[in-house]
Amino acid sequence: MLEVRNLEVVYDDVMLVLRGVSLRVPAGSIVALLGANGAGKTTLLRALSGLLDVHDGEITKGSVLLDGEPVHGLRPAQLVRRGVSQVMEGRRIFAELTVEENLKVGAHTAARSSAENLERVYGLFPLLKERRRNVSGYLSGGEQQMLAVGRALMAGPRYLLLDEPSLGLAPSLVRQVRDLVVEINRQGTTVLLVEQNATMALSVADHGYVMETGKIVMDRPAAELLADEDIKEFYLGLGAEGAVKSFREVKHYRRRKRWLS
């Protein structure tokens, strides 16, 4: 089990972004983490994978436990070795490297099982196998997302943290991502799925958390969240015009991203 207890995270010594978050990801499950832009979802994943340092972020309170052992403060490489891998927001493939080189970098900590994991990933993504000598920067958005997920699987993780894998993908590809999450989980990997596409995430998850400005405001079995119209309307922005609204959000989000970079 991957567990977060009462976690507080501060950026740049002043910006309190997570205000006492607690969350449990039981082994074998799929857990969805939902919430609007800026709620702190990505920050939570950074805390789980040791990437806060890069962003001048710091855990000021609380703990992260992996199978009961505290792991906050470990470096990313150590966490990957212990079985926690993250697929970052925005795919972040190594665009200058070929598809297979990307995958091999993913296997950096698992050199011994590299060949075996490569077979597994190619099994999941036959398309990547076809393109394995191509420079990955020329893949389509959907293919790049597959590559990002495949790359994380190359480390043979027990816990896979996915940050908005469906972002910017066409509906048919979103369905593919969903099926993929189910398949990865079926093969024995526990998944923490961060999504803005609440319907998709809840349709595969066992349990759902909703986050708002650095706090967990809702913590229920996924089926309940999905069934409750009020929750959908208030927390997930999925009222009658849900589709339109979330589409606008996505566009807004992408624009914001561009300003930031």
Binding site: S85, R92, V105, H108
Partner: protein, 295 residues
């Protein structure tokens, strides 16, 4: 014609020295975004190490030993002086590398003494005939060694786990971290590689004429080489280094006759003249990426 070709071979020979140094600059730059001005010191440390070792081990064993020694030195310097600076502004770190250069050179100067030290190479200034041309043996040896080293280096970056990790980290450090690549390891490895390459370059520079306390100045010509080739391109470093060597050599051979109005010794400044020309046309170098900023 024969003269031109001979001059060309000399240029390629000297150019290999610049190319190896330029590779070091580029490798460190790609890994850390810092231009390491410590390269001249590592170069001279390599030459001096060879000059001291060659007597006991023989020249051919002394060179790899010196390369390892200087790689180790660079590793230590990175650990002690650079790693604690991670996250500081790049120019601060660059200034620190300048300091490292001065300190290491002062120490190494103690091992040079006031005279010229021979590196103990078997070539001296002897000539060999290749296809009707009379060229110095050392130029051929330098060019061949560089070809082998460059091939090994490219194979390293292409096929090995650490080479791939370094390329990934150069492209996107955070994402490389997320894959379990240790960025500390990438920094260390880049400095070690740069140190080892500089040591071999220094040995080359010392063949024939030996080394003295001013030999390090040769390393400065690697700067035009990386500007010409592009700060972030390994292939560019090699081609830039060779090109600078060739142009310099041709100018040295012919400028006196063809353009005497440029004065004597114009060859000395040609690397910088070439650099300025390239900067006017392609500010990011012939093979560099346009985004690379230059201050």
């Amino acid at each position: 014609m024969k003269g031109v070709l001979e001059s060309l071979v000399r240029g390629l020979g000297n150019g290999s020295v610049y190319a190896l140094l330029a590779l070091g600059f580029v490798i460190v730059y790609k890994a850390t975004r810092v231009i390491s001005f410590a390269q001249p010191a590592f170069m001279i440390a390599g030459a001096v190490a060879v000059s001291h070792l060659a007597g006991t081990t023989g020249f051919y064993l002394a060179v790899p030993l010196a390369a390892l020694l200087v790689a180790g030195l660079a590793l230590g310097v990175e650990r002690v002086a650079i790693r604690p600076m991670v996250g500081r502004p790049v120019f601060v770190v660059a200034i620190i590398t300048l300091g490292i250069d001065v300190v290491v050179r002062v120490v190494v100067n103690g091992f040079i003494g006031l005279d010229v030290r021979q590196v103990g190479d078997p070539w001296g200034l002897s000539l060999v005939e290749v296809g009707g041309l009379a060229v110095q043996q050392r130029w051929i040896a330098m060019l061949l060694t560089t070809a082998v080293l460059v091939s090994l280096l490219f194979a390293f970056f292409r096929y090995t786990r650490y080479g791939l990790a370094m390329r990934a980290a150069a492209f996107d450090q955070e994402t490389a971290l997320a894959q379990g690549v240790s960025v500390g390891m990438v920094f260390a490895l880049s400095w070690a590689l740069a140190g080892g390459l500089a040591a071999i370059a220094g040995t080359f520079a010392g063949t024939g004429q030996g080394v003295d306390q001013l030999t390090w100045i040769i390393a400065l010509k690697a700067l035009p080489a990386i500007i010409v080739g592009g700060l972030d391109s390994l292939g560019g470093a090699v081609i830039g280094g060779l090109a600078i060597g060739v142009v310099e050599s041709l100018v040295q051979s012919y400028q006196g006759d063809l353009a005497p109005w440029l004065g004597q010794n114009f060859a000395v400044v040609t690397p910088y003249a070439v650099m300025l020309l390239v900067l006017l046309v392609r500010p990011y170098g012939l093979f560099g990426t346009p985004e690379v900023e230059r201050v």
